[in-house]
Amino acid sequence: MLFIHETHRVDGRHEDDFEAAYREGWMPTLAKSDDARLLWYANHAHGSGWSYNVVTVTGVSDATAWGKLGERVLHGDLHEWARQLDGLRHDVKGKILVPVHWSPMQEIDLPGVPTDGVEHETSLFMEDTGWPYSSLDDYIQCWYDIYYEPMQRVPADMQLLDIQACFQTAHGSYQRREAILWQKIRDHDRLVGLLSHDFPPEHRRPGSYMYDALEFRDQWESRLLRTSSWSPLY
């Protein structure tokens, strides 16, 4: 399974049209077959980063399905749709992701993903993208050993984050030495607490994640992404 991750720099004057193009164009068009689905449509929350930045993630069953979809976008029935979409955004940057070996999310039942735009509460995700100075394999493993696995021992109602997936880039599609955590924020109040307080010293000592992870990386970027009210997954 492949995940096509796209960051769109949307023309702010056309943000509603852009969203409608995905809700009424991309999502139902993909729904006509079983090998691709729009999974997430999320806005980079204003006040936390770039303006009018939209992140979409489209799931495809395998590389063959990706190739067919790409052919439709570049030369087939989706070409005109994509061309019109370009008129609503400044640019788009994409990468193709695969789940790391320990990711809780490996496969998604694509035919079971909603495609009718049914509305729901919005949800907030923290997307962390890290660039290790260790080997990529070691970095991915460290995220399991000192981050994901210990967090599973904390009662769910005490967790800030629900780590739903961890990805690495499919080779050749983007920067190699990078990995991504896709984390749903369980408690918004706790998020505000995280943002507004220094880490207590005990969370920066040997044995803590913040300390031990420095063996593998010191550069990452967090983005706070709010799903739309109709995003198929949320």
Binding site: A63, G94, H101, H171, G172
Partner: protein
């Protein structure tokens, strides 16, 4: 056909090891199967851009073949090789590319691609990457094919387009076009670099003038093939 275009920021103290890894590792490993071939191994010429930058282009037969390569690298027989390669470079940026409809290179006969490291004279390429204005991607692709590409189609040219590509869906920047152009006359390259462009080549009706309707941003890289690069 897919092209996997990779820009490697090589550790300068390991450049020979890096090249050997491609010549003695990547190229023959791909040759053992039918999914992919290394096409070009090139160095970004010192004195013309970033130091210790290597550009490689690997062809995959189709999406499924690339997918199998991804799996081999992620957790298969190529995982350790790739991990060791990472020790020889700071980073690598990849882009999956597909040929433009008018590209001279549409398919590669894998059987005809050398995989034995046979040596030859190095050759020079000018790799141009363009970013058309918003909403002008299709217009640029069409104009580049009808006007620029045809303008180079004369006998004994200074430069010739061997491959014209755009990123495949979902890989890197959508609004981008790359031309792999072989330089046939190095003396003319010197003149191009050392002189202003003749006003007669910048007026209405010329590509330099008219192409400004569709783009004004591009980057040229001067790439020198290794002496064993399969294509050169």
């Amino acid at each position: 056909m897919l092209l996997m275009h990779e820009v490697h920021k090589v550790n300068g103290t390991k450049e020979d090891d890096f090249e050997a890894a491609y010549r003695d590792g990547w190229m023959p490993m791909l040759a053992a199967g039918d999914d992919a071939r290394l096409l070009w191994y090139t160095n970004h010429a010192h004195g013309s851009g970033m130091s210790y930058q290597v550009v490689t282009v690997t062809a995959a037969r189709d999406g499924a073949a690339w997918g199998r390569l991804v799996d081999r690298i992620r957790d298969g027989d190529l995982q350790t090789w790739m991990r060791d390669l990472d020790l020889l470079r700071h980073e690598v940026i990849g882009t999956l590319q597909v040929p433009l409809p008018w590209s001279p290179l549409q398919e590669v006969d894998f059987a005809a691609v050398p995989v034995d490291g046979r040596e030859h004279e190095p050759t020079m390429y000018m790799e141009d990457t363009m970013w058309p204005y918003e909403g002008k991607l299709d217009d640029y692709i069409e104009a580049c094919g009808k006007v620029y590409s045809r303008s180079l189609q004369y006998e004994n040219p200074f430069i010739a387009i061997e491959s014209a590509v755009q990123p495949a869906f979902g890989s890197q920047t959508r609004g981008e076009v790359t031309l792999m152009q072989r330089i046939h006359k190095l003396d003319q390259l010197g003149r191009l670099l050392g002189r202003d462009i003749d006003p007669a080549l910048r007026g209405p009706g010329t590509w330099m003038h008219d192409a400004l309707e569709v783009r004004d941003q591009w980057e040229s890289k001067l790439l020198r093939t290794s002496i064993w690069s399969p294509l050169f």
